[in-house]
Symmetry: C2
Subunit: 123 residues, 2 copies
DNA sequence: TCAATAGTTCAATAAACATTGAACATAGGA
DNA sequence: TCCTATGTTCAATGTTTATTGAACTATTGA
């Protein structure tokens, strides 16, 4: 349970898998929250997403996000830290992640996404 | 069987549905082919996609693309003409469709998408 | 009127998906 | 050493999805 899980290489990132990952509201919210957090810290840990779903359900969604190449997981003690693989995404599909994030931001209310203030609260 | 099927209004277009639609390789190929065709004609009919799947399967995918707001269907005789709802997509999610299409173009081989030449052959 | 063409509808099927809770593993602090 | 916090794994469940073929509808042209 302690080792770093496998991640696809940059070249292994596939468009349909990425789009499928982003099409789920919970996963989109995870990605959005990570993106919002970036100015503060590029990482968040699992517990920071507890509002979005139950623990084991989050583990499932994290695995999908990792498997498609959107997120990286780093293990540290009992925590797993997540960050967006921005550079790899941008290299593979220029402009895609930004376009999705901007679209999500436009519909933040409709998608029930956390606002900046919610995200940056103390941990 | 002859009337124009229902389409969502611009405002009813939802990001998760759009992304989900585009995450299927067959639907992505349909959208891509429509986009490639645009300089020649903004419309294609069902039969132009026969290479991608069986007829009833295509009907299924067309319905999904229509329901999410990506495509418009126009009925004319025994034909149904499809076109991309570019303006509506651009209004709702600026830059998104272009980013996806560019990403798809980059991976055209991997995604087995028709090249420009294939698409623009005589009909 | 008849046949061919274009596409839809429906039912059946198998696979994938999201969700849940219980049991488990691991690291760190009292 | 034991307790707690963090997160994973596994099995079970119900839902949605993609795909197929057969039957059907509607329009066009001979």
């Amino acid at each position: 349970m302690s080792r770093t899980p496998p991640h696809p290489t940059r070249d292994q990132i596939e468009l349909p898998l990425v789009l499928d990952c982003l099409s789920d509201p919970i996963r989109l919210a995870i990605v959005y929250q990570l993106a919002q957090q970036e100015p503060v810290s590029s990482e968040l840990c699992c517990g920071d997403f507890n509002g979005l779903a139950g623990k084991s359900n989050l583990t499932y969604h994290f695995a999908k996000l990792r498997d498609c190449g959107l997120m990286q997981t780093r293990v540290s003690g009992t925590n797993r830290f997540m960050r967006l693989r921005r550079d790899d995404l941008e290299a593979r599909f220029p402009g895609l992640l930004d376009a999705v994030l901007k679209s999500a931001a436009k519909d933040a209310d409709r998608l029930q996404l956390a606002s900046g203030c919610d995200v940056v609260e103390a941990g």
